[in-house]
Amino acid sequence: MISAALAVLESEEQRNELSEIYEQNVSNFYNIAFQHLHNKQDAEDTIQDAFLAIAKNPGPFFDVAVNKRISYINVIIRNTAYKMRDKKHKVSENEIVLDDTIIDEQISVEDMMLSNYSCDKLLEFIGTLPEATKAAVYLKMHLGLKNGDIAKTLGISQDAAKKRVARGMKQIREYMEGLNDE
């Protein structure tokens, strides 16, 4: 009885930061999803899944600087779209078995001196990495999220998040070394 009466008092319309971002950028989010899926229903599902993942674990959303939140959501939507597309085409990404001694502390964050040419080549190389790897490296290295938060954001295990970051970093660094040798 009390709960029924409480419900009456909770009917006030409420908004929040996430719904505001959605309302202002829905066409952008839709176009990102649609670009990879070419299907309205799948694009809608992708946006729903991405926002639900953020809603269930809003910690990283608040950890990310306000001016980077749209990019953060864009990356999640893109990653979700890739996952949906792969699921439909029954593509599974095998986790590369990495040396367990690769730990966060060994992930170097030092800056690199690059010419414009090398930078373009490197961006081109980044484009060839699996989407899940790119997203994990982006969340870790650009947004500074913890492995646990990356895992929850991408819907993977913490171990898988850690491996993806390490794998991506290793591949980028190896490519860098190759560029320097040229």
């Binding site: 009466a5 008092l9 908004r15 930061e17 639900l52 690059l114 500074g144």
Partner: protein, 235 residues
């Protein structure tokens, strides 16, 4: 050649900036009501989790947030007043509906009307209708949309869409009980009447935007199946 200094974080950001800038910005189609419902649900979950993580109060569009303590006190006052006014009050509560039970009927209200349209913004019509039934009456205004179907044997099937804030019908519950159910994951209730005239039922469900009702000369299973078919197929 000019060299610049980049971190891997910078490079990843540059990569995604280029990728997103290259996305073709096309006008988007009207998103489905199912999508809108799911997004509302996500925003509600976000609001709940946000409170527990950041201990930040919800930003409200209108009015001030009432503290839980005050809400409980107000709720108790409402219940006491109701009991005083009516002599004795029996309250019906399900996941999506609440109601006041009287001797021969129950007045039903929807829970959680916040965020739902205050007028009919999108009119629903049944996309799945039992064989042989044809539309014979239709009425619509800002508050509800009503359509009545009949077959050659004069059996009836009615469908009504009502804005949540204006939904408070009296349901005949004399000798019958309202039962809780789900219609394609939406909170729902139904009631089935069996008497000398045959079987008839009412199914009422909350699709988060509107309250939808089906009633007619069907048993409750048939009517619930019809409701689910229409939810899946879209209105």
């Amino acid at each position: 050649m000019m060299n610049k200094c980049y971190s891997i974080g910078d490079l990843m950001s540059m990569y995604y900036e280029r990728e997103f800038a290259a996305v073709e910005q096309m006008p988007i189609p009207k998103l489905s009501s199912k999508h809108n419902r799911k997004m509302k649900k996500a925003f509600r979950i976000f609001a709940e989790n946000r409170m527990s993580i950041n201990n930040q109060p919800m930003k409200t569009v209108t009015g001030r947030q009432i503290s839980l303590r005050k809400r409980i006190i107000l709720a108790v006052i409402i219940v006491v007043l109701l009991a005083f006014v009516t002599g004795s009050v029996i309250v019906f509560v399900s996941s999506g509906f609440r109601g006041t039970v009287y001797n021969d009927n129950t007045r039903i209200f929807a829970f959680d009307v916040g965020g739902s349209p205050s007028v009919i913004e999108e009119q629903y019509m049944l996309s799945v209708v039992p064989e042989g039934f044809e539309l014979c009456e239709y009425e619509a205004n800002d508050i509800y949309v009503y359509s009545l179907y009949k077959n050659s044997e004069n059996q009836t099937l009615a469908f009504q869409q009502t804005v949540k804030s204006k939904f408070h019908p009296h349901i005949n519950t004399e000798g019958y009980d309202l039962q809780e159910t789900k219609v394609n994951s939406c909170n729902a209730i139904y009631i089935e009447y069996i008497n000398a005239y045959g079987v008839s039922s009412t199914v009422i469900w909350d699709n988060e935007d509107y309250i939808l009702e089906l009633f007619g000369n069907f048993d409750n299973n048939e009517l619930r199946d019809l409701a689910i078919s229409n939810e899946i197929d879209g209105f």
